[in-house]
Symmetry: C2
Subunit: 162 residues, 2 copies
């Protein structure tokens, strides 16, 4: 079906990874949110205490897609889940199985580490992605609403002495 | 306002923690999902490679509330976030500031580790929790839908050779 090779990203792949992250943000109409730098990615992925892992899809050595993931934890299940932060394939390389290969690779890593499931978030208007996820047998999370605390409210609470 | 003391859970607190996790599940009408055991929590929180951290609220030594959290990662921000998996105070100890103390403790840990925000999920019908979060200045995540892949679909993909 394809000659995509999936491997684990290394420090040397950070420039390519940042290029793809920017491509993903552009596709998601969220370029204004990208403040990541090569230095920040290097620290987060390959520093002293990595917070996430990245894998790449290559064709003839050229990086054409990536996935970033990290373990989460369910207290009810009492076991880790795998959270898929990003999955992206460059437009000209889509519909040839690279996305599925990346996704399956993350699933294998997750299963090998004792995770019971994978989870992620998708923009509600992203029909191609939604179709891809449905085709894998994935289901939307029901009943739960995501919340976040950031900016000044976050900083204020972090200084709260309780 | 209160005499709640917040501290980091240890191995010895696992039975109390599991009791509170079951209390939370009952409140969320999700008791049927709780399969966690003391052994599983011990491995996840205090094992060789911990996947999450737990803090406790105590009154006179008695455990009356808890929070569980772990770092997540934003590729766009290029920095970690802190994900709050659970926050719970026993019914008879509510409305005295324990929840806010637990929340503020997690915010302090998050800020100290370079996180730009905290995030979590809440059941859409949980008005007391929603009011508490709004009072802190938190906002719902818009435009994104959570998805998950579990059970046979997850296991099948994990065996996919691509």
């Amino acid at each position: 079906m394809s000659d995509f090779r999936i491997d684990t990203a290394t420090d040397a792949d950070v420039p390519a990874l940042l290029r793809l992250i920017r491509g993903l943000a552009e596709y998601e109409r969220l370029s204004h949110l990208v403040v990541a730098t090569e230095e920040a990615l290097r620290a987060a992925l390959f520093g002293h205490r990595p917070v996430a892992e990245a894998i790449l899809a290559r064709v003839d050595g050229e990086v054409v897609g990536f996935a970033v993931f990290f373990p989460s934890f369910s207290t009810f299940a009492g076991r880790p889940n795998m959270y898929l932060e990003d999955l992206y394939v460059e437009p000209q390389w889509r519909r040839r199985g690279a996305g599925r290969k990346l996704f399956a690779h993350v699933a294998r890593v997750a299963a090998a580490r004792g995770c019971g499931q994978m989870s992620w978030s998708v923009l509600h208007w992203n029909e191609p992605a939604l179709n891809f996820y449905r085709g894998l047998g994935a289901a939307p999370v029901k009943d739960w609403v995501g919340y976040h605390l950031s900016g000044e409210s976050f900083r204020r609470l972090a200084k709260d002495e309780g």
